[in-house]
């Protein structure tokens, strides 16, 4: 099953065609989306996450129609953004992770077990009762990732998740994103080294996908374009 199938998809926000004529079929465990600021990368990621609606064309995410099968899509897809502050919903670390499971009809014991397992995996156990807003930037992003992974999504969409982080924290976040936990990854990034770790790279320019393929070839094309 493809991660993302797009047929002549367009997204219009206000008076601007942010995406237009996007056609692609992406099927890989890890996919990077690269491109200049304002090229439409984030909108593509938000489209895949069901956060914006296509104004034209046909879209399938993990074989699901984001409009007609929105609730199934939400269960299968988690999104992580670049700004971790905007992702904190609950006051403490453990409660914020548990919040991700509110919409799932799980017994309390199972919820607690999954939250504990996720906190352990992301090294947040000792911070469980700490105020989420008092964490450092790296810890907040780990928390956001923990909240995303606790739902055991089939697809994780990460929109520049390392943008605000130092090299060490960026490495930690990348390690978790690329760890094989049974999920697929759609990563929007300006970090071309991270993009090189992906199986497939998508190059977006002026609101449309202009190239898709193996990382080395696509990144070389992108770097060439940046030099012009």
């Amino acid at each position: 099953m493809s991660v993302l199938d797009l047929e002549n998809v367009g997204v219009r926000l206000g008076d601007t065609d942010v995406l237009h004529g996007v056609t692609c079929s992406l099927d890989a465990r890890t996919i990077a989306v690269v491109g200049e600021n304002g090229s439409g990368k984030s909108t593509l990621a938000r489209l895949a996450g069901g956060l914006v609606t296509a104004t034209s064309g046909r879209i399938r995410v993990l074989g699901l129609d984001p409009e007609r099968e929105a609730s199934r899509l939400r269960r299968g897809v988690s999104v992580v953004f670049s700004n971790p502050d905007a992702q904190i919903i609950m006051p403490t670390v453990a409660e914020d992770v548990a919040f991700s499971l509110r919409s799932e009809k799980l017994p309390c014991v199972e919820k607690a077990r999954r939250v504990q397992a996720a906190l352990e995996r992301f090294g947040l156990v000792e911070l469980a009762d700490r105020s989420a807003h008092d964490l450092s930037g790296g810890q907040k992003q780990l928390l956001a990732l923990c909240g995303a992974f606790v739902r055991r999504p089939g697809l994780v969409i990460a929109d520049e998740p390392t943008a605000y982080l130092d090299a060490r924290n960026a490495r930690r976040i990348a390690d978790h994103l690329f760890a094989d936990a049974g999920h697929r990854l759609l990563l929007v990034t300006h970090d071309l080294e991270l993009a090189r770790h992906c199986e497939t790279v998508v190059l977006v320019r002026d609101g449309t996908i202009i190239a898709t393929g193996a990382p080395d070839a696509i990144i070389a094309t992108y770097e060439e374009a940046l030099r012009c």
């Binding site: 956060l51 939400r74 905007a86 609950m90 409660e95």
Partner: protein
Amino acid sequence: MLTLYRPGTGLWHRLPAGPKAAVLMMIVLGVCLLPVSYTSAAIAAAVCVVCYAVPGTGPRELVRQLYITRWILVVTVAGQLLFLGPEEAAANTMRVAAAVVLSGLLALTTPVSELLDALERALGPLALLRIDPQRAALVLAVTLNTLPVLAGLARDVREAQRARGGGQSLRHFAMPFLVLALKHADALGDALTARGVR
């Protein structure tokens, strides 16, 4: 930050959120219904001390709560002294103090997620009026959690003003603060959707 919850294992911590809220409400109501007298003021104070004597809270926390509410108490006692007299001032101010600090026990000893669950159950009948109790409880939780974020945004705007040599102009503060707050609201909406909230 509005994380008032202090982890613990005392009696108040072990009580489920719903019954605890009901018990505290009854105590507050009892204190408020006492006649206006110095004796009532003393009883209200004693009730607060006893409630905070339970392990997991303690008298230090009681003092902290009173310190937090000091200006409310000062205004109350001043107004009452001015218009009613010392006995009424003592009794009524003690009522206000008791209501605030006893209500505080609920937030101090209950995780927000449990409060949210209890609130959802309490708001259950609203479903008859086509109001989603889960959504109503969530709005409250998100509102509480957004206050520190807004405070942080306000600080950022003030720092940016100072960094660029600006003064304390309200107009120059309000516009960027409003824009940032709206952007945060957008991002929070996305975060909620991304975490499965419809």
